[in-house]
Amino acid sequence: MATDLRISNISKIYPGCIANDNVSLQFKSGKIYALLGENGAGKSTLVKILSGVISPDNGEVFLNEKNLKLSSPLDAKKNKIGMVFQHFNLFETLSVFENLSIDATEDNKSLRLRINEILKKYNFSIDLDVPVLNLSAGQKQKVEIIRCLLRSPKVLIMDEPTSVLTEQETEELFISLKKFCDEGILIIYITHKLKEVLSLCDEVAVMRKGKVVSVSETQNERVETLANKMVGQKLAKIKKKINISKNKDEIFKVKHLNFYSDDPFETNLVNLNFSVKKGECLGIAGISGNGQNELFQILSGEIITPDTSIIFRNKEIAKLNPKQRREYLMAFSPEDRISQAAVPELKIYENVALNNFKSSNFFEKGLVNEKKIKEHSKKILSDFSVNTDNVELKSQFLSGGNLQKLILGRELITAPELLICYNPTWGLDVGAINYIHETLIKINDQEKSTILISTDTEELLKLSDRIAVIYKGKLSKIMPSEEVTPEKLGVLMGGGSID
């Protein structure tokens, strides 16, 4: 039987943000639908409403013209709407079978029989009696899918399913989804990855700022057209004007940087020497795990290594801690936004205050000058177009892109002479990436320097004036970026040689 799901005028308003603004969409079985949007566009809110986790302020959902009242997840289940969340809803300490049996109505024996049928039919291999915490992310997702399939769903909603999967697992997932689709299950696929939409889905609805801005067939779309719809403006092609003036001063110079560790999870660094000129961006490429973490920590002062010389603006700073280095006008943006760069449980202005530099006057006689910090935070929020003006908001409610903007803003508002960043656009959507790239280029235009440690070659080629590759703790020759091609970088990153 064909399934027809219709969403009519759904609205959901949170304090300070309209998550869904009059959303209407229609889906029919036999097709895979993509719901595309940047982080914070309202996709997750919409699917939470469809699965009964939250209730909309307004609007209705119709399944085969029947008006559904979805006030709890049970209602969604009863109406055969299955949902696989981005963050798995599994019980880690329970076995796979226990996870599946918890909401089953039949006895364990026939349930096991049915699960085994599904495993066989879709070629899944999962041991039912091991605890879920022993499974890989891909297997956990399969458990979630089986849980939905057990209830013979009419609708299956997948919320950013590939964010935790490997390449191989993603392929397997796509094969299964196409199979489900052929069997008449209506599939709604939520993502912000454009390529997935084009390779998997038949129709795509794009959401932006809580509204549906376009519905179209994927065969009429390309990556660029979708990206533009998603961001809402024509994405400017960013290309940096390369700084080649050779006679500029060296502002930052590292000599004999060695690092040795007994920890098997850390990489030793062997005699790194490099320098950065005023207004220059030095890119450091490499596959992750080749010493970038250690390098970043040494440059920022989290790790102090003996016998290393780091000269910054003609002063020796190798023995200084991060706070002291900041006072010399260095700034840092670590890879992990949540656990290294910001404290998610703290409010925005508190996170800004964490980076207290001497001239800021955030603290007077040991007391917090809240007013000053808040003013300062407001300025960061507006200067760096973070999508809230509420400095009291807890940082954990910011999307990745907005959090990164806040962090960069916090670092840059001190007008540093050198910014060191490590994978600044990791996990962000196109709009945010573009914004951050523009910001980094602007820094160089203002004659300030940057060191960009990144695993993204495209980003490095776009932003760097000179590029070096780190491989197993050793740095390659530093090359002017106009001489570098993606192929060359690939060879060096794999440990090869290009001479």
Partner: protein, 310 residues
């Protein structure tokens, strides 16, 4: 020789009796904690159970009403905890501590008029069989019904958690309340039930002290047993059977060191008094070393406040 054997039988019988309140309270708290709720009010709920059981016995002269009443009083006082932590989302630790302080104070106030009143003899079962078998007679027979219940309880708890659907739901809620809620399980309701059950068992544990073990009311008569029960649950890594073992070790060493003190061993009394605590923890730590099992048994969400998205 026959005298020695019967003495050992009686000794073991008394060890069993002294571990009953620990088994009851710890088994109840275990269910509560398995649902992700950390109730530090065990001591307070026990002492309330002790005074209300004793008071009801004096007032009604009916032991059945006294026992049921003590459990109900445990339910009522744990309902305060449940309402605060589950409905008003207060911090588990602070609320539990407050509950204990409240319970001790309230029981002292209620108990003022009951100090010095003699208790009533509690009926014991199979007393005729007690003398019939030399060693096992005093161990197996001649106990109150509460003791038999207490010794069955860890096994029942184990069966409940491992084999029944409801037990699975309790474990699931303790593992991840958010997932459980998204699966349509009423997390708050499950947690309320577990809290109230824990309260009932703690109330019963208290009543065992004031009605059966030492049938009288003395202020603060639980004397820290609630805290021991709490520690047992943690050191037994949330396994009911290990709670039973731990309670027996604790009870056993408590009784033994009393005998050793009486005989006059040349070991400092303070050390002997500390021995039960020390040995229980050592033994439980040793038998629960398997870190994988610990991880599987530990309720992941223990003590964390859960609220439903709206």
């Amino acid at each position: 020789m026959s005298l020695d054997i019967s003495f050992i039988g009686i000794l073991i019988g008394s060890i069993m009796a002294s571990s009953v309140p620990l088994i009851l309270a710890a088994s109840g708290e275990l269910i509560t904690e398995r649902s992700g709720v950390l109730n530090l009010g065990v001591e307070g709920m026990m002492i309330i159970g002790a005074i209300s059981g004793f008071a009801l016995m004096v007032l009604t002269d009916n032991l059945f009403i006294a026992i049921v009443g003590s459990m109900l009083s445990g339910v009522i006082i744990s309902l305060i905890f449940g309402f605060l932590t589950q409905s008003l989302l207060t911090n588990h630790v602070a609320t539990g501590l407050a509950l204990t302080i409240f319970g001790i104070g309230l029981s002292a106030m209620l108990g003022k008029n009951f100090v010095g009143i003699p208790g009533k003899e509690f009926p014991i079962l199979f007393s005729s069989l007690r003398e019939s078998i030399p060693l096992f007679g005093p161990i197996l027979f001649g106990h109150s019904i509460v003791l038999y219940f207490a010794f069955a309880l860890p096994f029942l708890t184990n069966y409940f958690l491992k084999k029944t659907k409801l037990g699975l739901v309790v474990r699931a809620v303790g593992d991840s309340p958010v997932s459980a809620s998204n699966q349509g399980i009423n997390v708050i309701l499950v947690r309320y039930c577990c809290i109230l059950y824990g309260g009932a068992m703690c109330g019963l544990a208290g009543a065992y002290l004031s009605l059966i073990y030492t049938p009288q009311w003395i202020e603060n008569m639980t004397a820290g047993r609630g805290w021991i029960a709490l520690a047992l649950v943690v050191f037994a890594t949330w396994s009911p059977i290990k709670v039973l073992i731990g309670a027996l070790i604790f009870g056993g060493i408590t009784i033994l060191q009393l005998h050793m003190q009486a005989i006059g061993f040349r070991i400092p009394v303070q050390f002997l008094s500390a021995l039960p605590y020390l040995m229980t923890i050592i033994v439980l730590v040793v038998i629960s070393r398997d870190s994988r099992k610990i991880k599987l048994n530990t309720p992941t969400s223990l003590g964390r406040i859960f609220y439903k998205e709206k």
